[in-house]
Amino acid sequence: MRAISRRLAWTRAAMGAPLVLLLVLFLVYPVGQLLLLSIYGDNGFTLAQYRQLFASSVYLDVLLITLKISLVTTLVCVVTGYPIAYLISVVGKERKATLLFWVLLSFWTSFLVRAFAWIVLLGRNGVINKTLISLGIISSPANLLYNFGSVLVGMVNALLPLAVLTMLSVMENIDRTLPRAAATLGARPGMAFWKIYFPLSLPGVAAAGIMVFVTAIGFFIVPALLGGRRETMITQLIIDQVQQTMNWGFAGAISVLLLVVVLIVFAAYDRLLGLSSMTGASAPRNAKPSRLSGPVARAGDALLTLLGAISDRIILLLPSRRRDRNPDQAGLGLQAFVWTMLLVISAPTILMIPLSFGTGGLNWPPQGFTLHWYETVLNSPVWTQAMLRSLLVGIGTGLLAMLIGTPAAFLLVRSEIRGKAAWLAFILSPIVVPRMIIAVGLFYVFAQMGLVGSALGLVLGHTVVAVPYVVMTMMAVLRNYDTRLDHAAQSLGARPFATLRFVTFPILAAGMMSSFLFAFATSFDELTIALFATGGLNATLPKQFWDEVTLQVSPTIAAVSTCLFVFMGLLIFVAERLRRRAAAR
């Protein structure tokens, strides 16, 4: 007995160790180093960095601006994302696939491509200015770029898909008979929505809120490309410290500030709503009463009742056609709104396509037809090498993340291990810790190890941020896997390895393929880590894109954007086909 249990312990350790080792070496150690650098100078312990940080109001102002931009972005994303997620969760299968495709396409299109598209769109000779002038609304081009508005538009475009997908995962679990039951019990549509559906969807709203907010705080692409000096965000300061002055200690101090803010946000969220609601583990079916108690809850209930009553008054004012329509059909107003929003977030990237074939630069409307910009890209060794490198690093990251993440997912789903929640939190921490902090920490450690500029370093760094997604996807796949199939195979004489090879893996193949694609796409689109770890020489595609776009806005980039857009579209199409084939079984 003891020998067996010891062997089991060894097997478990072998399954979990690679992931733990990876995270300790390339997450805990680098981030810890960076934080230590902020309090250790040449002469031992010092708080000099922090004194500098708080000496002038400059850095606190940047923090406030960061918080302001993040908060407004979060509000807009949640408020406009809610109707989109709602519509996707209620429409029929085919329309759902269409709507979801556009959200996913936007979700997977590189942040860089989308931000660049807005530069072109909002520029002096961009679509919007040209259209407004030709309509006679304005006489000379307006300054639409490099202000709070353009940053907000870019941020919302970047993060709206994330908000929609997060809320959707909760809304899809809401029992559709509940609002119907409310109707039979005498609730008008407004009341049924606000008193029944809305409270049940709140965990999704909260999860979307915190995901968007935390991501927004760590953003630098959008404010750097679309903002002016007054829209500088905190991660941009870290980049400056590292790239321009190599001041590790001060970069570390700013990182600590950023990390503290993120942790405070999470702590507040946990106090109010409980962190468990974030992973979607608690389906609304088992929705616990929220921790808001007594008077707050009563006030909330009264508010919802009021909202319900007001909406029903408004519905009564509308033409009576609405009252006898099919109760399952979504309103025209809602559909119009959702399609407008989807158009707004997809249009910029799509408008890039005709511009990339034009001879007139990036001015609207596109003129002529040429493949010149594509030829330029393909004939430039810098671009082709970057593409090749990104593909290689992406595939390497996908494979490594699968190899390390899958056994860990097996362990977390199938075994009873102590402190499972804590392990899970640890594995998911690369998502929570702002990417910039990981990137700077890795740069520092890679420099010591001689990994800067190497493909291996990039693969390791990208695996750290991709592996949580692989673990989450594989855990979801494994939870749906009927273990009785394994038992059946074993009862039929298959040894453990044969069971894996002939039964378990073939059934899980689609799930594994989609998590591979997820890891690949994460790496392929990764800029933050690549920004430093490439060492300025061996650039990946996003890094090359970034270097170009910060220098000049040229049609070559429109050509690269178009290629990336089409590539991602194909990837989603393939992934979706795989998922459907798996679901059809």
Binding site: A182, G186, P284, N326
Partner: protein, 362 residues
């Protein structure tokens, strides 16, 4: 007590080319317990959703107490629905769930509290008021769904396979409970189920549906003893269906010839008209197929099964053109054991042989 009649006239629902409900008319009397019975896809749930106002008919009318509600939304119809999965609101306590319809009707707080307590009393669960739905067992959730429905005394209560998720013992208990509440309140109830036993024990009348239309409407006795079609005979209880030809008709009785036999025997009609020479099916219930008596048929025993109170004999008849037969009798201890392959003679009383039109009924 409050209770209303329901009239349905030529109600019809299509989804694209698929006819979910062919034009159907149906009357439910005040205080009646009517069951919509049928296999899945027979249109019973569609009919229920149309009555509830959760789906919209393409044609036809629905009247509650002579008031046309065809185009009224669900919240204006004053009907109650007990859903298959109970549809209790997970974010509200049991008390709030039950009080919900009262709040929607702007009943005063004090009154709502009193009536909620009374409803919990009726379903015998007064102690769970402060709990949440997920803290209750399936049977308890079922009772709460019922309480939430009776608390506002709707004119008609619709139940969509309410006991489907419960195990057999609990189901039997809840059947009695629902019958008791029906007796006490006298509400009109339309009940959907695919379980024929449940339909037989609970209903005043059964509406048996098949392929989007009513196959037969009548009391459980009618459907069991005088099925109008082979489908009804087959769906309700076990039956032996023997092909036969009509020789002559006199009043309720018929002279028939079974399969390729020569000798004539007798059967009773099911209420339809029969003509001499017509091919028909004759239904004999297993418990009416007597072994060793009468002697209309003979066959060889292929299998014996004792399922508690009943012993079932499976017999291959010697006459060509007849299917395998089942005979059932109460299980007795100490009787001589059967031998597989043994030759048995089979018979029945003429009154237990019911003639049915072959194929679809009229």
């Amino acid at each position: 007590m409050v209770s209303s009649s329901l009239r349905i006239r030529e109600l019809c629902k299509r989804y694209g080319d698929f006819v979910a409900l062919a034009p159907t008319s149906l009357d439910v009397a005040k205080g009646e317990f009517l069951t919509l019975l049928g296999p899945s896809g027979s249109g019973k749930t569609t009919l229920l959703s149309l009555i509830a106002g959760l789906a919209h008919p393409d044609e036809g009318r629905i009247l509650i107490d002579d008031c046309d509600v065809t185009h009224s939304p669900a919240y204006d119809r004053d009907i109650g629905v007990v859903f298959q999965n109970y549809a209790l609101f997970p974010h509200m306590t049991i008390e709030d769930n039950i009080a919900f319809p009262l709040r929607m009707r702007k009943v005063s707080d004090a009154d709502a509290r009193r009536r909620t307590a009374a409803a919990l009393e009726t379903v015998r669960l007064p102690h769970v008021a402060k709990r949440y739905p997920h803290e209750l067992s399936g049977g308890q959730q079922q009772r709460i769904a019922l309480a939430r429905c009776i608390v506002y005394r709707p004119a008609i209560i619709l139940m969509d396979e309410p006991l489907g998720a419960l195990d057999k013992k609990l189901r039997d208990q809840m059947q009695l409970e629902i019958k008791r509440i029906h007796r006490e309140l006298g509400t009109t109830i339309v009940y959907v189920t695919h379980d024929q036993e449940e339909a037989m024990t609970m209903s005043d009348r059964i509406c048996l549906m098949n392929a989007g239309a009513i196959e037969q409407l009548g009391t459980p006795r009618d459907l069991y003893f005088r099925p109008r079609s082979v489908f009804v005979a087959d769906f309700l209880g076990e039956s032996n269906l023997l092909s036969a030809t009509v020789r002559g008709v006199d009043g309720e009785g018929l002279d028939i010839v079974l399969a390729e036999q020569l000798a004539a025997s007798r059967a009773v009609g099911n209420g339809s008209r029969f003509a001499a020479g017509e091919p028909i099916k004759v239904m004999v219930r297993p418990q009416n197929l007597m072994v060793g008596e009468g002697g209309q048929l003979s066959g060889r025993l292929t299998d014996v099964m004792i399922s508690g109170s009943l012993t079932r004999l499976y017999i291959a008849p010697e006459t060509a053109g007849l299917p395998q037969l089942v005979a059932a009798h109460p299980t007795r201890s100490g009787s001589a054991p059967y031998e597989i392959g043994q030759r048995l003679s089979l018979g029945w009383h003429a009154a237990d042989a019911v003639a049915i039109h072959d194929g679809k009924g009229i």
